[in-house]
């Protein structure tokens, strides 16, 4: 099974599960009654579209697989994504963002910004020099201070540092 087929199967599974789960939620969830037109009419329509789209993807997959034309499912400009790199990058950036924001609330905006930026550059930037690592994060910290504290007046809970 090639990567495109796996991707399409996964997409269809996500669409169908979301759609079916939504319809079950509508059937058994606590929805406040509304006069004449129920309040779930739009979500319900969206769930039907999700299920319909999932079935459509499956039908296309079956059709092209049976005719041995799986390549027709691939977009001409599609590039294979590096899954390992994306998972690592997501974990570092999105997971790191949770820690960063916790640090912002507890340690201080500028200190956390400089530290988090330095970590991201050190891990992500190819051929990073020590000079770049020492110059860029404090510059970003200064920009954040100027833009968000001085110009916008963003309010944050008082933190340990600054």
């Amino acid at each position: 099974m090639n990567r495109t087929i796996v991707k399409e199967l996964l997409s269809a599974a996500v669409m169908l599960s979301l759609g079916v789960a939504g319809l079950i939620h509508i059937q058994f969830g606590a929805w406040r009654p509304a006069p004449l037109v129920p309040s779930y009419i739009m979500p319900q329509t969206a769930y039907y579209f999700l299920i319909g789209s999932g079935l459509w993807v499956l039908a296309m997959l079956g059709f092209f697989t049976l005719r041995k034309r799986e390549s027709a499912l691939e977009r001409p400009d599609a590039k294979d994504q590096d899954l390992v790199a994306i998972v690592l990058s997501s974990a570092l950036m999105l997971g790191g963002a949770i820690i960063y924001f916790w640090l912002v609330l507890n340690l201080g905006l500028i200190v956390s910004t400089v530290a988090f930026n330095a970590v991201l550059i050190a891990v992500l930037a190819p051929n990073v020099s020590l000079k770049g690592l020492l110059i860029v994060p404090p510059l970003l910290g200064a920009a954040v201070w100027l833009l968000f504290i001085k110009m916008i007046g963003m309010t944050l809970p008082s933190a340990l540092l600054f």
Binding site: I41, P43, T45, S90, A97, F101, V104, F116, I152
Partner: protein, 504 residues
């Protein structure tokens, strides 16, 4: 009318507004020229700042970024063969070849002039068409409006990367995200799953920044991590070395050459303006269709693909001509036809203006000032481009390794700053993760944003129409205008399916 024009001019030509336009163009070109970053991302990042600026200044800044970003994309496309934005992909075909043939200056100047001509044409069409269309839209009832929303959703879903099923599914997800929070009629909370922080619904800013900017920087971050950019930077350095010993005086665009490209530019302007007005069709399709048509009508079709200036002009003009016309559905009907229009629609909402037919009647001065700003921004683009073109190519060499982490942090802090809300930061990260997942599974993102923005309006129209029809779905096809929209959607999908097949 004259009074209105004077008042709008006073707003549009206020020194601060002019300054913001220039700043926007410079920012847009800078970000557009760096592969991986785009004007849309910059607009999304700047949305939180819209709160703190006067509407005319905020619009000036966003318009400048949009226009600068469109042209900026062609700089990397011509200089290094790496399109800075998806719309510049067609420009890179001949642009990069022209550069390799020792004509980078001619190529960049052709791109600049055709971009400005295409863009201005499109802006003029917007100015003269949006107002009468909005007047027509004011006569629409809920049935017609629902048909219009359905028309836009179907069209944008079908035309986004040519993946109808995935486009429709992702538009449905966008609508579902918009349904989170209080039901406007019963007041009960929906789809919050017991989380009180969601009872107010999802804010526009974290969803838009998450979907567009966060997911993009995460994907770019993964490329950096794999040292793919290492190779790119080597290429860039290698290409830059090709220019050593290059004599710019022998590479000036002559009047005769410019005149020769005009036909291709006009073809691009016409095609781009038409495509831009259709929800979902986008810059990339406009550029490739313009390129194909210009080749068909060229006196030298054999030069296309080998560094033809006509090829550059048609692609760049087609790409830029979507700029003004993409706002036509937004201003006339309140429907953002593209990701950029969705971001502008969000900016209007943040400034307290509702996109749609009433936008023009309720905020006439601001909208006319915006029209003037659109034209002025083209002039700024032309002048800045003309004088700074020799330096712009270097912008594309800024290391993304330093830019991407900065953009990521600004997105987080900017989202928090907009409402001082911690919930918004969690929504941002969730939207970012959703965006990355959708990108991985090759779902188009624009229909999701369109569904999220027009979801509440579509729901309101649907419920009103159903109440009018006593709960009978057949009411939705009782209006001839509504039927016209459904037929038009079907016809346009067929038309573009054949056009895309021809392109392949």
């Amino acid at each position: 009318m004259l009074d209105l024009l004077v008042e709008a001019s006073a707003l549009a030509f206020h020194p601060y507004v002019l300054m913001y336009v220039m700043l926007g163009v410079l920012l847009g070109i800078t970000l557009g020229a760096i592969p991986g970053l785009s004007g849309d991302m910059a607009i999304a990042l700047l949305l939180p700042f819209v709160f703190f600026l006067e509407p005319a200044m905020a619009m000036g800044l966003l318009v400048g970024i949009y226009k600068g970003g469109l042209f900026g994309g062609s700089i990397a496309a011509i200089s290094f063969g790496v399109p800075g934005t998806p719309g510049a992909a067609a420009t890179s075909i001949d642009g990069y070849q022209a550069k390799l043939n020792g004509k980078p200056s001619k190529a960049l100047h052709t791109a600049l002039y055709s971009s400005v001509i295409g863009d201005t044409t499109s802006d003029l069409v917007l100015i003269f068409i949006a107002v009468p269309l909005a007047a027509v839209a004011l006569t629409f009832g809920p049935i017609e409006f629902f048909a219009l929303y359905a028309f836009s959703l179907i069209l944008i879903a079908a035309l986004s990367q040519g993946m109808v099923a995935k486009g429709l599914a992702v538009a449905a997800i966008g609508i579902l995200l918009a349904m989170i929070g209080r039901d406007p009629i019963t007041g009960a909370t929906r789809l919050t799953f017991g989380m009180p922080g969601l009872s107010g619904g999802l804010s526009l800013i974290p969803v838009l920044i998450g979907i567009f900017a966060i997911s993009e920087v995460v994907v770019q971050g993964s490329k950096l991590w794999r040292r793919k950019v290492d190779k790119l930077m080597d290429d860039v350095a290698e290409q830059a070395s090709l220019l050593q010993g290059y004599d710019i005086s022998k590479d000036k665009l002559t009047w005769a050459e410019f005149k020769f490209t005009l036909k291709a530019t006009y073809i691009g302007a016409a095609v781009g303006t038409f495509i831009g007005a259709l929800p979902g069709a986008g810059q990339s399709l406009a550029a490739f269709m313009s390129y194909g048509l210009a080749q068909r009508f060229s006196r030298k079709p054999e030069d296309f693909g080998k560094g033809s200036l006509e090829g550059i002009a048609s692609a760049e003009s087609g790409n830029s001509a979507t700029c003004g016309s993409t706002f036509i559905p937004l201003f006339a009907f309140g429907i953002p036809g593209s990701a950029t229009a969705a971001l502008f629609g969000a900016a209007f909402i943040l400034m307290g203006m509702t996109p749609g037919p009433s936008l023009l009647t309720d905020n006439t001065e601001i909208i006319y000032a915006l029209f003037l700003t659109l034209i002025f921004a083209n002039l700024v683009n032309l002048v800045l481009g003309k004088f700074l073109l020799p330096y712009y190519s270097r912008i594309a060499m800024i290391q993304p390794g330093f830019m991407i982490p900065g953009v990521f942090i600004l997105a987080i802090v900017g989202t928090y700053a907009a409402n001082n809300s911690v919930v918004d930061v969690w929504v941002l990260l969730f939207a970012g993760a959703l965006g990355v997942t959708l990108r991985l599974m090759s779902f188009p993102l624009a229909p999701l944003v369109l569904g999220f923005i027009i979801g509440p309006g579509a729901e309101r129209s649907l419920r009103q129409a159903m109440i009018m029809g006593g709960g009978d779905w057949a009411v939705l096809i009782k209006s001839p205008i509504a039927i016209g929209f459904y037929v038009a959607a079907f016809a346009l999908i067929l038309l573009f399916t054949f056009a895309l097949r021809a392109k392949k």
